[in-house]
Symmetry: C2
Subunit: 540 residues, 2 copies
């Protein structure tokens, strides 16, 4: 035994489980009066929000909720949703945020699979939740309605309203931190385009680290006023419910995400930062003059989900939004990759700059490793910007695994890396760029065609508002690219014109052979549902 | 077993030991060319610094250094010192930074007690190190000289020069992260005013967390250019060697800390941030016009060590430095407490603002708990701003313990808290304010007198540059305050005038009864050596 391994053990003074719950306790102590939460006419300080979270934890505990239990939440971006991120784990239970756009059958599946004991549900979703409750096998569910004063009203399904539940609880509740930082904190189901959704389990350690890393990666100041455009049910809002407590900033809630509401919140509440999928960026770019409000300062925007086309990035920056591009998946707590900026890129022309920024980038500070590997051999692909491989992750901000699904968990972690299923290249400067989902890549005449590359070309066209490309079966080529595009109102763009435009801007063989006009089907998280388009292309 | 405890285990994909070494690896990958290190005419990028650290680790490994070993460093704030913070722990060994102002006997004690295998020593310190090497019982020590091109030259004591050692090493050395994040990373001896110094052991987990927390607490941007005024041997430079890697900023080294050198570095290298004891602040305030250079922007300064008198804080801010006040001890990795700022304090008049800022404040984000407790009962003192108690810490940024000293370790951790030995009060807003070291408090006629309070009053006097107060034995009162002051050149301040000034500005019984004029003796870390003053006061 070395001298450094004797008499230097862990004890209560020098070791504590890492948990993001500690951030809330500290925020209430340090900045009790500072505004933690703005929601319509509601404004509450950190001490009050901490008291509300402790009430929630206390009330749930008194009703028997504790370690090993699951509390499901069907809520928009409102205070109750933020509070559930703290109040539920304070009991030792696991918080399961439900995607509010899901259908009743899927919700019922999730309640059953996650073995929920409690559902906290906003009255706006009463119709679908009523049906889900009739389908679930969880018969002793405690159903708590949230009848938000800023909401549309609607039926109450449960035995108690949320404020009534809080009233049962003790605002000084003596919650215990997790016994082990590896304990589960939340459960998030993937949107799963095929088969049943999988339940991704997060732990306190990972949530703590990513919450801090959001501050590091984004240089978040203590004066941050963070607007909730990104759904909190999406990877726990990329851990920002915890991040904003860690930096004692201010949450600005938003029930309904629209260009007008976003511009109004920025103007009325001094919003400095928000996160959003490219669909939100598109909203802002295409806002009408009536919807717009002048920006008094540059607003910082973190975007991910689908790689934003360079043209979209460029237009956002022209309008006063500064974009940070991140990338991740539910399995890595939301963003775990960032396009870390190099000072000298700022001197590039706007198009080259946007092209740099459209790359996914490098691992977060707390991610141990990011790599593009050949999934067969598990060896790195050359850093040539061309060779396709699978993007893989390793580190403390990777999920524990899939709930009750050891097979999928083992597959996902084969060879000691998390397999993202995303295909990408590694550039010479070690920045990763996504080229496609494994299942999306088009193979035409033996050549790989990245649907993302074709989409980026389409977005260069001034008349094209949204674009998605999928494979269409072809007797001669095997597959050819089929483009679905939504054009600006009044545009008279033709299929031939679109194809010509692409041919002029990229390798000819990569240009779409077919173009379909119309709105694109989207998932609840704003991603284009390519499987629907693929079915459509197949049926042509 | 709950569903959350089955099939969701740790594996290589989702768990890694926390270590600040990972920050350097990432910095080299993300910003290989960005300047990591400026030292005189030397400027190196992150990739080059990573390669140098790997060379150091490789060369030490080849010479048999590894887990359980100790590498001592007697170095000023130069690149080799930063590199040792990474290169040594990359071998698994523990880095022991020596205070370069210590005497030979104390250095020999530390080499023996820490069981050093290697000493890396700057030629500037050859005389004292030669003597220390003649005194130590470590006979097979590998001595590595650093003959810094920016240094004064001097004798070489060892068998190899630092650059020669690096040349032996492999720049692609495949270092292993620690097997356990609880493994020791560094060893720092307290300055110990009585008895032998104690060896404080830090671990990878704590160094990682505090390194990140410096970024959070100080809102450090990626463009930080950090000037090394604070000695890196002091609590590992408050973990900033690791912090600057985590944010991929730029280190600006400084062999000799003087007002002229600091102003020159700010002007020549675009320094944005530095840390320094109040003695450094005093230097800047009292700089001559020749030494000054205009500040092009506000420079952020983090200060601690002794509580800065409000008058000093105020003068610094008037001169363009923005002060963040932190507090800590060697046992808590440097700073673990910050005077987190409230927006509305900025509207206070300068004196009231400085008084707020002179308070030590609240725990860092990663500190689990900070409290002012009655050390007898271990219960919190009332938050009344008056009741004295002992400041205590709990959490992951508290040391593992004292090396080979289980008795001192157990005493320090009695009751599950780290006992700081500092006396303070808890204000109504939960901010801690130090009143004294336990051993410094003056008890006069049964009343406690805080020497810090008397010192703050003295600093209000325009002619007083430095002040320290200790107890002087007194037959009638038990003890009375005895002030030691250094006055501005040309001042004709008298003892009676000083006493009158204090009586006019505080409770009469707290005013000094004795005033001694002259320079103050300081420790190597810039703290006034009160034990010397106490001896002097006793001998009067």
């Amino acid at each position: 035994m070395s001298i450094f391994e004797t008499g230097l053990d862990k004890n209560d003074a020098n070791f504590a489980a890492l948990t993001p719950l500690s951030f809330l306790k500290r925020a209430a102590l340090v900045h009790p009066e500072k505004t933690a939460m703005i929601h319509g006419r509601i404004a509450r300080g950190w001490a009050e929000e901490y008291a509300r979270c402790r009430r929630l934890a206390s009330a749930l505990s008194r009703r028997g909720i504790g370690k090993g239990d699951t509390v499901a939440c069907m809520l928009p971006n409102i205070p109750a949703m933020m509070e559930a991120h703290f109040g539920v784990p304070m009991t030792g239970a696991v918080m399961n945020a439900l995607n509010t756009r899901l259908d009743a059958a899927t919700i019922a599946f999730i309640l059953d699979h996650g073995e929920a004991q409690v559902v906290i549900t906003d009255t706006e979703f009463a119709p679908v939740m009523r049906e889900a409750l009739s389908l679930t096998e969880r018969k002793d569910l405690l159903v708590v309605d949230v009848d938000d004063p800023e909401g549309p009203g609607g039926a109450r399904l449960g035995s108690i309203e949320y404020e009534g539940l809080l009233a049962e609880g003790d605002p000084d509740f003596d919650w215990a931190p997790p016994a082990d930082e590896w304990d589960a904190i939340t459960l998030n189901y993937t949107s799963g385009t095929t088969g049943n959704p999988k339940g991704v389990v997060y732990h306190h350690r990972g949530a703590y680290l990513l919450a801090l890393d959001n501050i590091v990666v984004w240089s978040l100041p203590g004066q941050v006023r963070y607007l909730w455009t990104l759904p909190m049910f999406h990877c726990n809002g990329w851990c920002f419910p915890w991040t904003i407590a860690a930096i004692t900033g201010t949450h600005v809630c938003l029930r309904n995400v629209s260009a007008a509401h976003i511009y109004a919140a920025i103007a009325d509440h001094g919003v400095t930062h928000f996160c959003g999928a490219p669909v939100v960026l598109g909203m802002l770019i295409n806002a009408t003059d009536d919807e717009r409000r002048p920006l008094e300062r540059t607003v910082e925007v973190m975007t991910a989900a689908a790689p934003p086309p360079p043209a979209v990035l460029q237009r956002m920056e022209e309008q006063g939004f500064h974009i940070t591009h991140v990338y991740g998946l539910t399995e890595v707590y939301g963003p775990a990759v960032v396009c870390a900026w190099h000072e000298d890129w700022s001197a590039l022309d706007p198009e080259a700059r946007a092209a740099k920024k459209a790359r996914q980038g490098v691992g977060y500070t707390t991610l141990e490793d990011l790599a593009v590997l050949d999934p067969e051999t598990m060896t790195p692909v050359p850093k040539d910007g061309e060779t396709l491989g699978e993007v893989m992750f390793r580190g403390n901000i990777v999920m524990r695994g899939y709930l009750k699904n050891p097979t999928a968990t083992q597959e996902a972690f084969a060879g000691g890396w998390f397999h993202s299923g995303d295909l990408g290249v590694w550039h010479a400067d070690s920045y990763v760029e996504l080229k496609d989902r494994s299942k999306d890549i088009i193979i035409s005449g033996g050549e790989n065609i990245s649907t993302i590359e074709v989409e980026n070309a389409l977005y260069q066209h001034p008349d094209i508002v949204e674009a998605a490309v999928v494979a269409r079966p072809d007797e001669k080529w095997g597959e050819t690219p089929c483009a679905f595009v939504l054009t600006r109102d009044g545009s008279d763009l033709t299929e031939a014109a679109v194809i010509d435009f692409c041919r002029a801007n990229m390798a000819r063989f990569k240009a779409p052979k077919t173009v379909i006009f119309g709105p694109l089907p989207k998932t609840s998280t704003g991603k284009v549902q390519k499987f629907k388009l693929r079915d459509q292309a197949q049926a042509l």
